[in-house]
Symmetry: C2
Subunit: 542 residues, 2 copies
Amino acid sequence: MSKSFAQPQARPVPEAALDELRTLLGAGAVRTDPASLAGFRDPYAHRSWREHEPAVVLEPVSVEQVQEIVRIAGRHLFPLWTFSQGRNYGYGGPAPRQAGCAAVSLRGLGRILEISEDLAYAVVEPGVRFSDLYAELRRRNLPLWPSIPDLGWGSVIGNTMDHGVGFTPLGDHPGRACGMEVVLADGSLLRTGMGGQAGNPAWHVRRHAYGPSAEGIFMQSNFGIVTKMGCWLVPEPEIYISADVRVEREEDIAALLEAVRPLLLDGTIQNYPIAYNATLVGGAFSGVPREHWYAGEGSLPNPAIGKMMAETDCGAWFMRFALYGPAVIVDEQYAACAAAFGAIPGARMSARRMRGCDVHDTLSAAVPPPPGPAGAVGRLRHQSDCTQAGIPTLDLLDNLSWEDSGAGGHLDYSPIAPLDGQEALRQSQWLRSVFTEHGFDYAASLMITPRAFINITSVWFNTADEGQTRRAYDFIGRLIGLGADRGYPVYRTHLEYMDAVAEIFDFNEHAQARFNQRLKGALDPGGIFSPGKQGIWPSSVR
Amino acid sequence: MSKSFAQPQARPVPEAALDELRTLLGAGAVRTDPASLAGFRDPYAHRSWREHEPAVVLEPVSVEQVQEIVRIAGRHLFPLWTFSQGRNYGYGGPAPRQAGCAAVSLRGLGRILEISEDLAYAVVEPGVRFSDLYAELRRRNLPLWPSIPDLGWGSVIGNTMDHGVGFTPLGDHPGRACGMEVVLADGSLLRTGMGGQAGNPAWHVRRHAYGPSAEGIFMQSNFGIVTKMGCWLVPEPEIYISADVRVEREEDIAALLEAVRPLLLDGTIQNYPIAYNATLVGGAFSGVPREHWYAGEGSLPNPAIGKMMAETDCGAWFMRFALYGPAVIVDEQYAACAAAFGAIPGARMSARRMRGCDVHDTLSAAVPPPPGPAGAVGRLRHQSDCTQAGIPTLDLLDNLSWEDSGAGGHLDYSPIAPLDGQEALRQSQWLRSVFTEHGFDYAASLMITPRAFINITSVWFNTADEGQTRRAYDFIGRLIGLGADRGYPVYRTHLEYMDAVAEIFDFNEHAQARFNQRLKGALDPGGIFSPGKQGIWPSSVR
């Protein structure tokens, strides 16, 4: 494998194809005007950059239209870049890897096709957002919660396709997906799993059918367009406890992770906790600009971080988690957590205990504290209380107020490692030193699963300042390289670094990349689906 | 898709290839003598049948030898039929789909490569049996339990590859697999997931890495040979309760499943319960021949089933399940189960409560009741107590004593359906009528997951009686067809019916089969891996 791929401009969309697309979709759903296209750029790139601008955005409203778009692209051999909602802003949003692509927005496929109350699942199209699914469950007054990530505006399917994570007991989003419909490169439909039998009622209740399971190869790839997916839901518990624990020293992250691991492995804690460092809490939840903490050059010095800890009272690390179940059980589970975390010197716990049936009303009516450092923990708690109960919010977008320019952006670097306390401490100290060396602030969110954690670190910057934006983009690339040297791949990445991350997977002369390439050639011989996604290119481009 | 595939004899293994194989493996590991080959036939086929006999059995002891075997097969273009232990006897055991194949036994790759106590996983080769993994955990005195199926002699990897199910909280065996090494058709090695980076320590702790996840397409397929797999383990709980509930009327299965579903959905019950009907309990656990119950013609009449219920006291349905955790929690969980099941008129519960650290000693020392109908429930309980705690047994082989010929065999028919009480009752009444019509006894084991159940029905017969054996094989084929008409595929099937089951998946002109075929062509263009497995044939044969 060479270190760099050829990355020509995408093959242009021929005029004849545009005509066919206008006939198919209507002229208004084939957008080529600059104002429309601007809405589908990399949202945090500097406005003068053109590397990730589509040439046209197509807006189908039905599976049949998607199939026909694929057939037109196949005949004319131009590439399609598909997104569901395109809200993964820290990784490039709806923008294509290659400028000049025809972007296919699936926002118009917005139907919730089925909800089973007894079997606790929904079937959705890719335009359905977490907020849509939540609203429909509320409208029908069903005792079911969706599992959602921290921002509620994304697509249920799109998030799953990108290995998204949620914070209810069904937080493994690829794992709670069951049964897909996929448009293949010839425009035909595949239904995975039990859906391979027409009309089978177990399509969305049994994940492994007969023969190979294809769902996994359609995630983080470019082998097809998923147009339907079953999505399991969480039954409303009798009692819901949203809890947190604060520790006072940076090195306490080791003890905290060692304490939480057995509670995750034995199912005492059923959701994925997140541990935030003080810079994340102070930066994302205080609602004050960075100058409040530090107005000098370079990254936040220790005294500024100390000021954050003092004014927000968030500790060095603030870990949220939740419990779900009958009162007698969750109260015992909380006691077990209190005993485990209480053994860490200086650790402080807090919890909000609600009846499951009251959660929506209680949290909808709750008024989080006003902006200001003293309210940061309260605002984080409100956001956590909602998210861990499947109630979508956009609170986390507040972290962009860190940049008081009104043009705040962020890019994420998210290494994966085994769930080991000392490893987390070493990694965190290393990351802090690298961020500091490069003049960035180390804001960390450790998403914790029973055996591994993903450290979502966010680089915040002012997208109106081209130099600063360039430095942020370059820094992410530098982090990917430095992380690879220490053995860290990442779980998602920005368009700009998809090749670089693929390159990290070097076992047996990049056997994984060669394998993916073989699948790509077999499933999309014309190379029309999302060239370059996750570093997988059609052979004609590679 | 035509209804029947061409099924010629496998391309013969050329003498020159055998010479190369003998040089590679040693002559003793290239078995062609009839006595050796007889050990790798379909174990329950009549001894005069030759449809599934290999021509040669290869016994590699290392991954490198497996790679070289694949390269030799690729050069000489003869097919390999791979099995790990080959213990799925009800579906054909180690035997190849096509007679004349070169069978590759992976029993010689028997190393447990790693066990992580903190992160609760093991890494195994395909020859490692559940009993080996259990023994090693005991030898090291680790507080970890493997998740195992009802018979402990199978391969951990082989069972996972066939969508096997276990009965601890990690009973979704494909779901508790994390990270594989696979020999591809060119003899090269692929490592999936995080293993795609050489030396990555998160290979067996994080299931989704970067880019598409390939694990699912290597299960129930013939695209590669899995030579290593990570396997998550269950932490020893403080308290383990192995429990059961009996209901008295056939129609009570509906209420039983409606009662258990919420307990599964909310995690009160973390393992997969099984509901057995009286014929299964009386037949498999009494240790008396069928004549004890009924000596007449045809299937067991209602009075004989009534006699079983009376003499074994197993109820019309006997459902086992288990609870795991701290004492204060499992006792509350048990109370919740007792309340839910207690609402079914006539339901009776029973439970054995053990300290997790005592389970192995307690159950190893336990002496199950001697054979005889009065001991059937006790023997089933002992087997359940062990299996649900990860302690392998071979007790279930006793069901073959139903045939007092000493040559008992069974074939399984295992339809999948949504977890709905009325559906289970309708299905069970239908199956009973079909079994009765064909003169077989309806012995049912409903494996229950939170949203679906799989009804493992066993057809028992005397393999020494060719006519009876033929009728049993034919009956399975008839069931598959009748089930398909009612919308039921199955989760596994015997070699003989792999094509017929694939045929059931008819959505969009068998899109799933065509998709699998496309993968087959790309990943194994020479068609050397397990032709016909799950109905997937190389294009040269199809």
